[in-house]
Symmetry: C2
Subunit: 84 residues, 2 copies
Amino acid sequence: MTLAPYVGYLAAALGTICWIPQAWKAWRTRNTSGISLVSNMLFLTTVSLWLLYGLLVSDWPIIIANIFAVIAVLTIVAAKLKYK
Amino acid sequence: MTLAPYVGYLAAALGTICWIPQAWKAWRTRNTSGISLVSNMLFLTTVSLWLLYGLLVSDWPIIIANIFAVIAVLTIVAAKLKYK
């Protein structure tokens, strides 16, 4: 079971950064027509709830990871609303 | 602290279903030009790693949530590759 924590940390780290290319692409190209606003609003709610969860249980890795995720997804939602 | 588990369960449930509208939209409209393949491949890796993590630690909620997430994101990536 020594592998599990590393898999978990790698997943958490990737989950933190994976939406940066999407945010960058949306603002650079101003093409957001294929992006689902519903999905991204639901995902924004998801990562906001994870952030709240992290704050409630005082878990810093969850807090930090989801602060980054909230910022990235907010940036995508803002681009979608601006360039729809 | 009695609120925390409910916030966590709600976040987990939303995270499971939130990409279904994006997958549906991509296949229905065939418009995937605004979708970042890099972000979705990274996110597919992320949820696959969470699935592996769930299997390694035998955590059924993590396993089930990420099976659904892998299916939804695979569907988005497939649409992106087909209609790019």
